[in-house]
Amino acid sequence: MVLRSSKVASVVLLIILVTVFLITISIGTVRIPVEDFFKIVFNNGEVRNSYRKILLDIRIPRAIMAILVGMMLSSSGTVVQAVFQNPLADPYIIGISASAVFGAVLAFLLGLGDIYYGIFAFVISVFVSFLIFRLSNFKGKVNTSTLLIIGIAISSFLGAFTSFAMYAIGEDSYKIMVWTMGFLGGASWTKVGIISVPLLFAVVYFIFHRNDLDAIMMGEQEAHSLGVNVSKLKKRLLIVSSLIVAFSVAFTGMIGFVGLIIPHTMRLIVGYSNTKLLLPTILAGGTFLLFSDTLARNVLSPTEIPIGVVTAFFGAPFFIYLAFKARRKV
């Protein structure tokens, strides 16, 4: 059972999420009254056909996609940080995201269909996350510096491949470039349906193991003494994290900082225990990405800013602020 503070945080975040959702679906190049959304949901009253189309085919799936991807990135960030016992171990920083992009680009280069992007992204990111995990593991303990160095090296190496692919593809490279900066424009109900399955599975899996995750943060030997099968659990958690990161990258490209700043911010609010952290983090991740996407769509409207640019633009300074705040506390 989670404690009251975590429940309060979750309820507040849920209210914010719903509010941001209602705002985001009503604003854009065409302003649609929020009442129209409720009219559609409750099938009560007339709604202009074009509004109905915009809401149902474009804005709502896109908003839900943003929420789901934000949830994926923030929850995987929380779990990867617990597994590596390092609050800086974001899937983006340690190279899992870059390897997912690499997989997706490979599928694109091989001329395979959309469905293969996710499969390639998944297989390669799982392989790379294990490689990083194995290389940074020394005598049963994950070496933090090695982990970051290997992660950065792999990101750069695979980033070089992606850049080369863009160069080689020529004019069509725009498709990949959009991907590397994150793009939610291609959201559809089908995609929402596809990514909700791994997300749901991952969230259930993470919450199920929330107490074991706390034990893992005590180090391998101590977690073992508490009855946890540490290496098996760490591997499974990494596979599930890679799975959802891979899916999010395959469908929406690389969106940085969410997996880093959201868990970090939530830790300041509800504490470090995963029993209290996971649910608020998942909700905050969804809210943050939805908010970022709203900005991405509207700031330079009708031109759209890639969402990865927005998350980094807001995320990086905020992260620096948090780091300074934490430093003052110490």
Binding site: N211, M217, S225, L226, G271, S273
Partner: protein, 276 residues
């Protein structure tokens, strides 16, 4: 009851990279007793503990917990019977003292969905109160001093409600006051609650003061075992550590080891021994 065996180590051998770390160790640990494992650095003391808790898997030999081979027990069952206090925690995140101690109830969780129950929280609160940790309950565990933090780790192991407590150099990072406090707590629990404690120790005099039995390891082998009075002999200490010592004895018959140093002549050492 008094001579009931809690833990039995039978012909245990362990090594890696063709290097032998433990050679045919056999040991019977009796219920309700406080055992000290002593020996020079690198003699295999901590490795023995890691084998006992099955963090490392022995190459040969068996370990029995209350006559049941540990090999046939699942991790949770072992964790319900055996608690562990490390020398230094590898805790990496800022969990509170309460959250850290609550984790000791992990092996007892019946439903992963439900998580910790009211009963678990009651047990945790009782241990917190009995160890005088109430004022630190909501503090970040990593912000505590070494002595306080070690007590938190002891509390976490105690809420596991173990019958055997393993401690890996629990006093190494503590000042004398905290070291004595920790050892006294463990001693009290072995005497009053029938807990069996096995601690890797470096301080011979702490071991003499608190342990019912000591085990000396040297060159990866078990060399001597017995009560402190029986094994704290000049020739044994010389054999184990290669160090000349004087052994004083206080009124209760507890031995006290004084190393012979170059700046202390025999007369001074003997005078100290008499004072003790």
């Amino acid at each position: 009851m008094i001579n009931e065996t809690s833990l039995k180590v039978s012909d245990l051998s362990f090594g890696y990279d063709n290097k032998s770390i433990l050679k045919e160790i056999s040991l019977n640990v009796r219920k309700g007793k406080f055992y000290g494992i002593l020996g020079p650095n690198g003699s295999g003391k901590s490795t023995l503990l890691k084998n006992v808790m099955r963090y490392l898997i022995p190459d040969e030999g068996e370990i029995y917990l209350f006559n049941e081979s540990i090999k046939n027990m699942n991790r949770k069952s072992v964790a319900k019977k055996m608690g562990f206090v490390p020398q230094k925690s590898e805790m990496s995140m800022a969990l509170t003292v309460y959250e850290t101690i609550l984790m000791g109830r992990l092996p007892h969780i019946k439903s992963q969905w439900e998580g910790y129950t009211e009963k678990d929280r009651r047990i945790v609160n009782n241990v917190i109160n009995s160890l005088g940790l109430e004022e630190f309950k909501d503090r970040i565990a990593l912000s505590l001093s070494g002595g306080e933090f070690q007590k938190v780790l002891l509390a976490r192991a105690l809420v596991q409600k173990p019958e055997i407590l393993l401690l890996d150099e629990p006093t190494s990072n503590l000042d004398m006051n905290h070291a004595v406090e920790l050892m006294s707590l463990i001693k009290m629990m072995t005497k009053n609650n029938g807990l069996t404690a096995v601690a890797v120790l470096h301080d011979l005099n702490l071991a003499a003061l608190f342990c019912d039995e000591v085990v000396f390891l040297k060159n990866n082998e078990l060399k001597y075992t017995g009560c402190p009075k029986a094994v704290f002999k000049r020739e044994i200490i010389k054999d184990i550590y290669g160090l000349d010592v004087y052994i004083a004895e206080c009124d209760e018959g507890i031995p006290y080891v004084i190393p012979k140093c170059t700046h202390m002549n025999e007369e001074i050492c003997q005078r100290i021994c008499k004072c003790v």
